[in-house]
Amino acid sequence: MAVRSLHVSELSARGFRNLRGEPLRLGPRFTVLSGDNGQGKTNVLEALYVALTSKSFRTSKLSELLAHGSREGDDEAIATVRAHVIEDGSPRVQTVALRKGHRLVKIDDKRPASLAEYAVQSPVVVFHPGELSLSMGASAERRRLLDRVALYSAPVALDSLGRYTHAMRARQKVLATRGVGASDLGDWEALMAEHGAATCEHRRRAAEKLGARASKVFGEIGSPGMALSVTYAPGGPEEAEELRRVLAELRPADLRRGSANKGPHRDDLALTHASAPSGRSAFSTLAAPLPVALHPVRGTASQGQHRAIVLSLKAAEIAEIGAARGVRPILLLDDVSSELDRERTRALFSFLRAQEGQVLLTTTRPELIDIARSDERVDYTVCDGVLSALVDG
């Protein structure tokens, strides 16, 4: 299948965090944004991400994005981000306007049918230092990864998840205010079951695609002799009738816990690595090969292995959503040199050089970014929300 090119040629932001000044012109390949901490480098990546998806990767509260100070206490304050996108030679303009509690999205001045449809127009993948929690941290990051991938194969996935979550909150409120015998509990549970089952289906499919790709990449960059397995770990029954039955049964327990014990809100992506025990052991003289040990990566993998796992998952995300949409996703990397360790940097840079699409990265140490010939690279410095082009020499 032919993969079409995709890049943002210009980004402008108004009333967005601390960003000021002229629109940013981007090359089709690498753009390096450098500057001291707190100047607005991440804000630029965030502005681009918001323009392409209508969401932020840093916060779920869109009101945080509105520049403070400009019109203090003004409910009408508005932030606008606009990206000139070029897909396979054809231009389009994507605009997201944010106001307290609202967002308005437009593609070439037309409103798309839904936010889900908007969010899959121009695939973009972010890499930030906190991303290490994808491998080491709590399950929420991994569910978000599944949902981002699911969105590309089925835009309704977003709707199912939203409906499931709403029904789940309503049911918990009913439990807390009117107890386990409330007459409408079964109705909310029926809706949780219907939309929860749909959510599981989307996530299972996303996990299968992602898992296959991640294992393959890990085989190439991970430690020799190690294998990564990525599988869907549902947080409850995947089938609607069964989920409904379990929910009804668990009412007292859910009331005590203050939230539902079972259901897709507790889904996870199980990461396990398999390895032959290393080194010589007392049994190493046995003729039969030793059994392969399966470990959940949390708690057992080394820091370096976690990085390789995260890189594999991210590479899988890029490949999967790129394939689903038929374009090369745009890649945003935040704080590339913040915690320099040689291993990570080497793997990361070879991964980066292999990227054929558009890449934006931020760093406090531009001299360490060794990725591309100068004709493929544009450099900017960011200072107090203003970008300036860095002239050679």
């Binding site: 049918a113 309704v156 709707d159 939203g162 409906r163 709403h166 029904a167 909150r169 309503a170 049911r171 409120k173 009913v174 205010t177 009117r178 409330a182 007459s183 409408d184 079964g186 109705d187 909310w188 029926a190 809706l191």
Partner: protein, 205 residues
């Protein structure tokens, strides 16, 4: 600076749906530069509005009170229209939704406006729904088919499931409008063609 009365009226207009500050100011200027009779009639109509128009006692639709009657009760045109099929009752969440369905011109029966949807997060539970009124209306008027036309939001779906169960013992046919209506959408903004299809494609629950 605007005279105080102009600013005040502008503020009031801008509270109307779809009217921003600019449009509100245009309304005020228009009234000030036109025949004063327009402002006077508008004012009188507004003064009388709530006294003259009441929720229909039977269905909750908007109804004009009988000027010659001492009673505050009012019955709407649809409930009075004896060409309507009294066996069919369409249950909606809000008056806006009733209008959206009426616009299709395909609803032969009458309506019942709930006024609310189940919404635990906003503190609305089954006791807040007018179930007694609905059930007695079904019994008294010999309704044999109820169409649940609550919106396709999660709260609307939950309300439909709840009503279906509560009406079960009455032994009447209960159906739900088809979900041709955009998901999560508002019936009010559904175009008449989609709305007629949703009605025609209603499914027995």
């Amino acid at each position: 600076m605007l005279p105080e009365s102009v600013a005040k009226l502008g503020k009031l207009f801008s509270r109307l749906p779809g009217v921003g500050e600019k449009t509100a100011a245009r309304y005020v200027l228009h009234l000030l530069t036109s025949d004063p009779e327009i402002s006077r009639t508008l004012g009188e109509e507004l003064l009388q509005l709530h006294a003259r128009v009441r929720p229909c006692v039977r269905c909750g639709n908007l109804a004009e009170r009988d000027a010659n009657s001492a009673s505050a009760d009012a019955v709407c045109d649809i409930c009075r229209d004896n060409k309507r099929d009294g066996h069919m009752l369409c249950v909606v969440g809000r008056v806006h939704d009733l209008f959206a369905i009426e616009r299709t011109g395909t609803m032969r029966g009458r309506y019942f406006v709930l006024g609310k949807l189940l919404s635990p997060l906003e503190g609305i539970g089954p006791d807040d729904l007018p179930m007694m009124r609905l059930i007695s209306r079904i019994r008294e008027e010999g309704v044999t088919e109820v169409i649940l036309a609550t919106p396709p939001s999660v709260d609307g779906e939950a309300t439909a499931l709840f009503l279906k169960r509560e009406l079960g013992p009455l032994g009447i046919a209960v159906s739900r409008i088809a979900s041709g209506v955009p998901h999560g959408g508002d019936l009010e903004y559904t175009d008449p063609i989609t709305m007629s299809r949703a009605l025609a494609g209603r499914q027995k629950l």
